[in-house]
Symmetry: C2
Subunit: 188 residues, 2 copies
Amino acid sequence: MRRQPLAHDITMRSLAAQLLITPSALQELSHEDAAKVAAYMGHRTIAAGSVFMREGDDTDCDHLLLVLEGELSVEHHPMPGEDKQLVVRIMGPGSLIGELGLLDGAPRSANCVADTTIEAAVLQRHDFLRLLEEDPRVGTRLLLAIAKRMADHLRDSSRKLKLFAQMNKVLSEELATYTRNADSDSQT
Amino acid sequence: MRRQPLAHDITMRSLAAQLLITPSALQELSHEDAAKVAAYMGHRTIAAGSVFMREGDDTDCDHLLLVLEGELSVEHHPMPGEDKQLVVRIMGPGSLIGELGLLDGAPRSANCVADTTIEAAVLQRHDFLRLLEEDPRVGTRLLLAIAKRMADHLRDSSRKLKLFAQMNKVLSEELATYTRNADSDSQT
């Protein structure tokens, strides 16, 4: 994985600033904020086929990635009724990955696979903390935008958990009916 | 619901600062940070038995509550056909409620019922934004602590979703076996 500071690469930097404020990333930032944030980002090229984030991985997990070019798959939790245990979400340019790691550097919670060669802008945790220190207003707006995105994800998870709980209840009750019927059949 | 600024109530304010940094709230803040945050909080007394947050409520939902005294239950709205509310959690002093609303003012995602009279410290969204403006360093540390707490909740939700998906799969397979057996029984 090649890494270099994005600040020396004007095209990449302006692309990062542009993609940072798309709906799939942090729509709430202004163009000026995004340009300032991009100056704190580095650039990475990820080889096609590589698993560049692993669930439970506790090394190299303190950064956020903004996809500039290419596509990746993230393992995603299925909705109730889907027969696969794990579905995959395909993400492309403008997608933001790993914001939890940026905040606390804790192990990754999902696997990410590069489907093609990926060009990405990277915000390391130490550069994020430096931004908060050096430019608290822009840093805070970035943090607020990330926190709002997480709030959306939490509400979404909450809805899914409720659906799952309901689905499990229905399945358990149906199963209990079959079991009771089977018991009474065996006693007759 | 009685509301008054906590800043005029030294005892409540110091209690809020103390409880704000317990493990159930925002352990990462320093004592000094917590005292500064408490100065931006108000005080509320909530009557026993009242439902003081309602799922889907889009009014009065832009604040965070820190329980100082008393107990509450966080509930989820029943699914269609269910007659009982699902009690999720009992929470007491030091518990933090409504951080998502603080960030985006979006409708509440759960019902909260006061099991006893509750004394709470309240941080309104506009006071939180004022803190970020007036004291960006303390405001940012508060925001970081809230965001880390949300990251924990997201990872926890992710684990639960996975568990639910596995349970769902097992139940569905078991049910399919019973259904197949019942079908073959009916054909013999």
